[in-house]
Amino acid sequence: MTTKAVSPWRNLWIRFCEDRIALGALIVVAIILVLALFAPLIAPQDPYDLSGLSLRDARRPPGFVGSGAYVHWLGTDAQGRDLWSAILYGLRVSIQIGIFAGAVGLIIGTTVGILAAYHRGIAETVLMRIIDLQLSFPPILLALVLVAVLGQGKAQLIAALVAAQYAYFARTAFGAASAERSKDYIEAAMATPLSNMRIVFRHILPNAMPALIVVATVQVAYAIALESTLSFLGLGLPVTEPSLGMLISNGVKYMMSGRYWISVYPGIALIVLIVAINLVGDHVRDILNPRLNR
């Protein structure tokens, strides 16, 4: 027996660091987050400031020195935007929406799932059937319909993503909470007796949390992909605030004429971000899977 008290959370972190790929992915995610957060300081150009753009700089290849007298390392797009700056700002938008949609989905879905698992009976039947119904729709379809109905804009987009995704959180929260609900320590808490609120927040939620973190990371990545898809289709954000999906979409028509950089670089940024988040999530899931425990 160790004499030092190692909390289960700390234990999780120690085991996470043992895997180099996952740790690398986490570092990549962290770097991208920092880049996105400090985009206005890092980016040489403000891509939202249309007056600062010059059409003379449009569609220039990587390495071109434009009218701003700085090097466009990743080239420029059809409006003369510096792609490096546009990607940084695009990441900012994408991550913002992904995290926001993930967090709101997490809160709503977890509430629904734990409510159903804790009260069982009629609440479980009604809530989980609704969730099942929702899970049978492809999320992209749901999001498309909602965006078409609600219109364009950040809030609308987030609402559509939450509606398309909360069911995944609810399902996971329900599974994890049901498993915890039937364990003796919950029965012990009820036999003390402790209030329902306390049992849910102090016992069930912390024990269901690891599973929810895994889903949350994966769903944030998925929300980012979904948002890019919608923007690529022209249903996402307004043109004045280009996200990664829109940048890719803007460049597609120039792909065949050799101006690959307009689509490819934002695409790479998107792929790196999503893959890194997924690697982190997968590794956390592996750590938490009791069957893979050493």
Binding site: V6, P8, Y185, A189
Partner: protein, 329 residues
């Protein structure tokens, strides 16, 4: 007769099978779907005096844990009532009394893995005003010591302890609620034999020092004999015999009790039979379809015609000694 300290009054528990939506619809339409409830506990009446220990014995599946959970206020009885000092343990589907606490069988499942031992023990007393934030550490330390643990364990997590230590933590948690009654549901069944003795001795010490009333549920006859003042034997949801411990162990009246006592493996120091034990013949019938008459009649060596038709009632056959058998006297 004045009411006993703990009175368990004609308590029933029936579990209805959970039907799926489709089953429910077809059964409404008249199709025959199995809807018969399981009679887990079938009309149990018991009295326990303050400071006494009641041993509840039976084979697995006889309903002793279900009865224990109803006494502890975890399950609501389908019928009947459990009262302590005249007050019902459960009111409106919720436990209304903190003076009865529970020790569970598996100490690996009964402690929240994400809480420190100190928080596990202090949670209930803080929520019910038995301790305050300022006195929390001293309060926890006192109960850890009472359960035979080092007060420094309060900062550790349950996964850092062995089964016996975890069971002591669970005992400290129950004691911290300052209970008058402890329901112990197979508290030593999942522990090593050497640890079992320590935990049993701890229970004996607590009963002596804190005058706690114990309800000790176990299938281990020798442990029950060691700790109990009274013993009740359960079979298929009913009490078949109850009485003072020595009386039951030396002069059992019900054939099931006799069978149970004889089925305990014993080492005899005789030349011809080194190991000698007699199992009760047959299997426990399904509680879904208990046999007619006395539930024990298909396995009973002395059953007569009456046993197959008429249900024997629990009747007094000696001072404080009851048995549910037509032939007992």
């Amino acid at each position: 007769m004045s009411e006993a300290f703990i009175s368990i009054n004609d308590v029933y528990k029936r579990f209805s099978p959970r039907l799926s939506m489709a089953d429910r619809i077809v059964s409404k339409l008249g199709a025959r779907v199995e809807t018969r409830p399981v009679r887990a506990v079938d009309g149990v009446t018991l009295m326990v005096e303050r400071g006494q220990t009641l041993g509840l014995v039976g084979e697995s599946g006889c309903g002793k844990s279900t009865l224990g959970r109803m006494i502890a206020g975890i399950l609501e009885p389908t019928g009947g009532q459990v009262r302590i000092d005249g007050k019902p343990v459960m009111q409106g589907g919720r436990k209304a009394d903190t003076r009865i606490q529970t020790i569970f069988q598996d100490p690996f499942a009964s402690l929240d893995p994400r809480m420190r031992v100190g928080d596990i023990i202090a949670e209930g007393p803080l929520a019910h005003g038995l301790a305050d934030k300022a006195g929390e550490r001293a309060y926890v330390a006192a109960y850890l010591e009472r359960a035979g643990l080092d007060p420094s364990f309060a900062d550790r997590f349950p996964h850092q302890f062995s089964g016996g230590q975890r069971q002591r933590i669970a005992i400290a948690r129950a004691l911290a609620m300052q209970p008058d009654v402890l329901v112990c549901d197979e508290p030593v069944a999942s522990l090593d034999v050497s640890i079992q003795a320590q935990i049993v001795n701890l229970f004996l010490k607590l009963r002596r020092e804190m005058s706690i009333t114990l309800i000790f549920i176990s299938h281990d006859l020798s442990v029950v004999r060691h700790v109990s003042d009274h013993v009740a034997i359960m079979y298929l949801g009913r009490i078949v015999e109850s009485g003072p411990t020595e009386k039951i162990y030396t002069d059992p009246k019900h054939p099931y009790t006799k069978g149970l006592l004889e089925s305990v493996p014993k080492l005899l120091v005789e030349d011809d039979a080194l190991v000698h034990f007699k199992p009760i013949m047959g299997e426990i019938p399904s509680p879904l379809a208990p046999p007619a008459g006395c539930h024990f009649n298909p396995r009973c060596p002395i059953a007569v015609e009456l046993c197959r038709s008429e249900d024997p009632r629990l009747r007094l056959i000696g001072p404080g000694h009851c048995a549910a058998c037509h032939l007992a006297e």
